[in-house]
Point group: C2
Chain length 220, copies 2
Amino acid sequence: MDTHTSQDAFSPNTASTRLHRALRVRMCEGDFSPGDVISIRRVAAEYGTSAMPAREAIRWLVTEGALVFSDSRKIIVPELSRERFHEVLFARKSLETQVSRQAFTHITTDDIDELRRIDTEIDEAIEQSDLLGYMRGNYRFHFHIYRRSHSRVLLPIVESLWLQYGPSMRYICTRWGASTIADDYHREVTQALSRGDIEAFCHAIAADIEQGMQLLHQVE
Amino acid sequence: MDTHTSQDAFSPNTASTRLHRALRVRMCEGDFSPGDVISIRRVAAEYGTSAMPAREAIRWLVTEGALVFSDSRKIIVPELSRERFHEVLFARKSLETQVSRQAFTHITTDDIDELRRIDTEIDEAIEQSDLLGYMRGNYRFHFHIYRRSHSRVLLPIVESLWLQYGPSMRYICTRWGASTIADDYHREVTQALSRGDIEAFCHAIAADIEQGMQLLHQVE
DNA sequence: CCGCTGTTAATGTGATCACACATGTGTGAT
DNA sequence: ATCACACATGTGTGATCACATTAACAGCGG
């Protein structure tokens, strides 16, 4: 029905697609803030390529809604209205618990170990007030789980949600400090996985996202 | 939640966007068949531009799922499986009746006149076995209605459905003759509009799409 | 000190070229 | 006659350049 549910897009391994994926991850991890200007040449220079791949990657993100044209054809990271941010979080709660449920049976003990490792990295980042480190860890924690769902339909949709969510989340955290998001539910997630308790697991995921919604109310 | 519901994409009036829109319409009107190879240089030559705008327009359509990469990086019009085609028609029935309902109050007598005019063009096309003329008329008939809905959310989704639907519809019609689709419900649509009967109007729209589903069963 | 203005830097867009690869075709050897 | 190899063609990709537009900023006049 939309670009995500369309047949699996065979993506050739080109510089453009690599750059696109890289920028996608960076946006989810909160490397950018709303209003940031994304320049073709600057991105190209950052990744050591010519302007062409950067151009295509950026235009791709524009068609995905992850970036938008400003008034004067500059390309910027869009700002999420409070209402829209809430919508995204609501959709996240619904879809990501569903994805987690699908992923549950595929999660191995190795995965759990990896999740714990990521979680300790997150704790270190919080301790050092390293906001970007926290957001990067948070992204990797969640998507290490979600990728186990093997869903070619829901996963891209969830990714597109994070694409919109990342920059605004970073903005909020920089304004209000990472302390507000220190109490996540990652430990509950890993503990539920260790016990093999799927309901507690999904509940912890939902709680982790819900915590973001409470943060939103706390801010306004 | 997806690219369509993202904030209104401000599209600068560039050659790329013009080309993109043009190709979009042509796909909805059935100018292309599944499996057709869409070449950057050929499109550029057709529209008298350089390769760059064609390149961006085509890549745009690829990200929309309207075009796909073939095995060897050639860009082709995708083929819709029977199952998928049925899914699209089912979604069309649901969404387009909804869009029509929203459009109803905004349709003026001038619009009805225009719809009748398009319908006579369609009849002429059918009489001359002009398949492309029929499909072009059919597209314009439906979207003249849908555009009156002023929906920035549903309308792009419906367009993306037609984007997938167009080529396969053309393929089916060329194989089985335009005679199979001669009995549309356009007259019922305009008559219901004249009477101001919204229920009959929505019912006629649904019937028109349903007729396409019956065609599908007839074919297989 | 404020406001206007001309300049400068940076941006996206479009055009053109080189390259690697795939495909089809024709030609030559067997 | 058939098969294999080379060549020609067309493809997307990446690089580079020119151009118009725009934002920022320094400099000048009030």
